[in-house]
């Protein structure tokens, strides 16, 4: 579990950002 927060953190944050953006976009536009 400790590894989860130390390994590849920048990549994990970028991936989270992309996931949130995609979710907002799809829910806002396509599923309106």
């Amino acid at each position: 579990m400790k590894d989860f927060f130390t390994v590849n953190m920048p990549l994990k944050i970028i991936a989270l950002g992309l996931a949130v953006i995609t979710w907002i976009y799809v829910n806002g536009e396509v599923l309106k």
């Binding site: 990549l11 970028i14 991936a15 950002g17 992309l18 996931a19 953006i21 979710w23």
Partner: protein
Amino acid sequence: MGMNFLQLWSIMKPICEILILWWVFYRILLFFQGTRAFQVLKGITYLAIMFLVAQLLGLHTLNWLLMQFFAISILAMVILFQQELRQGLARLGRGHFFNLFLEESDLLAGIQEISDAAFKLSDKKTGALIAIERETKLTMYVESGVQIDAIVSSELTQAVFKHESPIHDGGVVLCGQRLAAAACLFPLTDNQNLSKIIGTRHRAALGLTEHTDAVVVLVSEETGEVSVACDGKFIPVTGIERLQHILKDLLIVHSKVKK
């Protein structure tokens, strides 16, 4: 009670969706990390952010332009990164079952012979390039060389790399316990950060490990140094035991799970 569950689900649903999306994006980024496709992926991420901002602010012209650009760039990506995409899909489909098909004792015997050969060649300062197949099939590279298909032995490997041997140029490919081919051509790395003095053999070792998941044992002709290449990186080797330990780790234990 039913209502409570539905309410809970309506809260949990977006979280679940975002978590799944996050995991998928993370695996994609991890897969492309360190390759030239990663730079492109970073560029696309910036464009995606711009697209979202344009959407939120209602900038229709910018939005339209980005939309058109995205449509073209998807097609361009498929063409430009054909190889990476093919490898990615192959990796997804194959899983981590390669060592179930090979007997551990076969692999151990192969490791012993290769390690012995590497250090004997190193003593004579004879260059060698030995690729060991893991999940990704090296058939393409086997076909580029001279087919041998013999049980690997230290003597055979040394004979192949002897200067007088007509098949000493290029690399050998090892599939399980069999030495599949010699004089095989491997792709050269296009890593720009490498020192200019690094030779073609080292570049080929790195290139192959960037394109496939193979493990490469390498003996330098100039210094007689033995090293192992894996995932586009060199692992220095100090002695025969250390080489055997590294190979066992990479081929049998295969505990190198990306976190």
